[in-house]
């Protein structure tokens, strides 16, 4: 029982990260109908920018940037998070304007290939020595991880203990807040209505006076900001910031994309659902079957869902028009 609860806690924390990243994939797909392969690289940027900001801010407060003796005040974490979200939002905006906007009318395959190009570009520019470099760094701990809740399970003679850490709770709460804000934006505001209109049919939306270009830009900014938040939360939990082309990033992005597809790509709530489904399959599979194959479970689930329900759990069936 204790193991089960512990795995559940990890799955919830990781699932909210997947969900945050999946939201960016799903929003871009919903509006422009292409897989934004460069999205996972925005996550990488988010974590590297968080790292760079953290080691700049900590000395100002008189703390050792690489290994602060006393935990910095909580607002430092919040500032780093917000700044990296803003910076990544801007980068997302620029990428969309330069690389994707000229291809608005091009074949989808071409946009997909461009996205791969952008992804390779971000990875390799990030690896340059004067940008982030190609060696891993250690993120200073902005939040002291401590025991928040202690649950005791008595199974037989010896009681087992589950510890709920502060970082896991922070990840879950921050993601939940961001997702609620997004939910409000998409379903309750005029801009969100415009986004859904463009996703439904860009041509009619533009005839109805929806500024399509601005909506697309806004979508990219929003998705990139969420990706940056995910990047920040990821290095909060796993403090080793790997080099930008490292395959843990790519796997993170891939799994988030799988989450978006499983939930029904283009569907905002589906992405959140998919994120948690993926995390549960991964974590419980790793715990109860074998940790060596945890990536296999995710992709096997993807292929099975695609074969049974090609449009995902919450996606609407695709209508083919000639």
């Amino acid at each position: 029982m204790a193991d089960f609860v512990q795995t559940l806690m990890t799955a919830l924390a990781i699932g909210s990260l997947y969900a945050l990243i999946a939201l960016g994939y799903t929003m871009v797909y919903g509006i422009l109908k292409f897989i934004n392969f460069a999205h996972s690289d925005i996550v990488v940027l988010g974590s590297w920018i968080s790292y760079s900001l953290a080691i700049k801010i900590l000395p100002v407060l008189g703390l050792n940037p690489h290994n602060p003796e006393t935990p910095p005040p909580l607002w430092v974490g919040a500032v780093v998070l917000l700044l990296s979200m803003v910076i990544c939002g801007l980068i997302g905006f620029v990428i969309e304007r330069l690389a994707y906007k000229p291809l608005r009318r091009a074949a989808r395959l071409n946009v997909l290939i461009t996205a791969i190009g952008v992804s390779l570009l971000l990875q390799n520019v990030g690896q340059l020595t004067f940008v982030f470099g190609s060696s891993p760094q250690k993120m200073p701990s902005l939040i002291q991880d401590r025991e928040l809740i202690r649950l005791a399970f008595s199974s037989g003679e010896n009681a087992q203990v589950v510890v709920v850490g502060l970082v896991d709770v922070m990840i879950f709460v921050t993601s939940a807040v961001l997702m609620l804000v997004l939910e409000y934006l998409v379903f309750r505001t005029k801009l969100g209505t415009a986004m859904r209109a463009v996703s439904y049919n860009p041509d009619s939306a533009s005839l109805m006076g929806v500024p399509v270009d601005r909506v697309v830009s806004f979508t990219f900014v929003l998705g990139s900001a969420l990706a940056a938040a995910a990047g920040f939360l990821f290095v909060l939990k796993y403090p080793t910031v790997q080099q930008p082309a490292h395959f843990i990033w790519v796997l993170l992005g891939l799994k988030a994309f799988v989450a978006a597809v499983i939930g029904g790509i283009g569907n905002v709530r589906g992405a959140v659902l998919g994120g948690f489904v993926i995390a549960f399959v991964e974590q419980f599979g790793a715990f109860y079957i074998s940790p060596n194959y945890k990536d296999v479970y995710v992709f096997a689930l993807l292929i099975m869902i695609l074969l049974v329900r090609p449009t995902g759990l919450l996606g609407s069936p695709l209508q083919e028009k000639v």
Binding site: R108, L112, G117, N124, V250, V261, Y293, I303, P310
Partner: protein, 372 residues
């Protein structure tokens, strides 16, 4: 021999002309293979002495990259699907071929070293192992192609990507290589499943049979078969799938069948390339080769060369393989340049350097377009 093509317009792509197969004699059908084999033999005899071992290896790398690019071109170029897991087929074929030569050598000759000289017994076992590697990869290609019955476009791309990643993880969890024939003969079943191919560190100790001759013989077969495929009615059906799936279905083309066929063919050649790769000296095939990064390299080659143009992707494969060797000092910037090339190409010339045309169809005055 060929009908003169109708004048191409900007809107419609130039379809290759259909060759009338009934009028090709046995000699006519075989001469490209003969020329290729002779050229390969000449390269094998002359090049290592003329340009040295280091550059010969680059020429081998180019040959393997060309096989990969030309085979991927069948799926991505002719049939218009988007496979981004092509390196997975290559790695699968490489592991299968490596297992055959390594464990075969142990069983037959009690030693993992190369057996026999040029065209000796070991050499033939190597060739057979490459073909088996191709067949194993083709079977995987069938499985990966099957979802294309239900999926299209981006979703299919994700399935191919998932295939490569699954293969990578599975290969990482394989057992240790059995060192000698005694260990192999006394191995229990539990040691053979999963196959003992070295786990995460890769399958070293594969006898290094690959040489210029075999790479370019296999390249000849790949290119001639791919070219004839493109010229045949089969190829035309594939191109029609690429241009418009619904329209070609309405014309009676079995879309799913051609997609699966394209996957199987491409995977077969990729498996052969994997066999050559696994036996190349100085290389060590490892699970990471199945990952998406290597797959992207081949995707870039097909995109830059022109989706559908065999000579175009060969040229791109040659340039993109040789360039990093020339620009060793700028290693950091290599992929930045590739990425920018990819982005700029999509902005200014999305059909690639040559589009669907071959090189001789581009250069005026050397055209075979009016050969009839």
């Amino acid at each position: 021999m060929t009908n003169s093509a109708s004048k191409p317009t900007a809107a419609s792509p130039v379809l290759p002309q259909i060759t009338d197969h009934s009028r090709i004699g046995i000699f006519q059908g075989l001469w490209p293979f003969a020329i290729g084999i002779i050229l390969a033999a000449l390269m094998y005899a002359i090049l290592p002495n003329a340009i040295g071992q280091y550059y010969s290896r680059i020429v081998i790398d180019i040959g393997i990259a060309m096989i990969m690019a030309v085979s991927l071109n069948i799926v991505n170029g002719l049939t218009g699907q988007f496979s981004i897991g092509h390196a997975g087929f290559m790695t699968l074929g490489g592991y299968a071929a490596g297992m055959i030569t390594y464990y075969g050598s142990l069983l037959l000759w009690d030693s993992q070293a190369k057996h026999g000289g040029f065209l000796g017994a070991g050499d033939w076992m190597f060739v057979a192992s490459c073909l088996v590697g191709g067949l194993v990869a083709a079977a995987a290609g069938y499985l990966v192609g099957l979802p294309s019955l239900r999926l299209r476009g981006d979703y299919l791309a994700i399935v191919t990507l998932g295939f490569g990643e699954i293969l990578r993880v599975v290969l990482q969890n394989t057992g240790k290589v059995l060192e000698d024939s005694a260990a192999l003969r006394s191995a229990k079943w539990s040691q053979l499943i999963p196959p003992p191919v070295g786990g995460a560190l890769g399958f070293d100790a594969i006898p290094k049979y690959t040489n210029l001759f075999w790479v370019y013989v296999f390249l000849t077969f790949t290119v001639v078969i791919a070219y004839r495929l493109k010229q045949s009615s089969l190829g035309r059906a594939m191109i029609s799938v690429r241009e418009d799936e619904i329209a070609s279905q309405a014309m009676g083309v079995n879309v799913a069948r051609y997609k699966v066929l394209a996957f199987v063919l491409a995977a077969f050649f990729a498996g052969i390339a994997g066999g050559l790769f696994a036996h190349e000296s100085g290389l060590n095939i490892s699970p990471n080769d199945a990952g998406f990064q290597r797959s992207f390299d081949y995707v870039i080659m097909t995109v830059l060369g022109g989706r559908g143009s065999i000579t175009g992707v060969m040229l791109a494969a040659m340039i993109l393989t040789a360039l990093p060797e020339v620009l060793r000092d700028f290693e950091q910037y290599r992929l930045i340049v590739f990425a920018l090339l990819l982005i700029i190409m999509m902005l200014v010339r999305p059909q690639g350097l040559f589009g669907i045309k071959e090189i001789w169809q581009i250069w005026p005055g050397t055209g075979r377009r009016t050969a009839s």
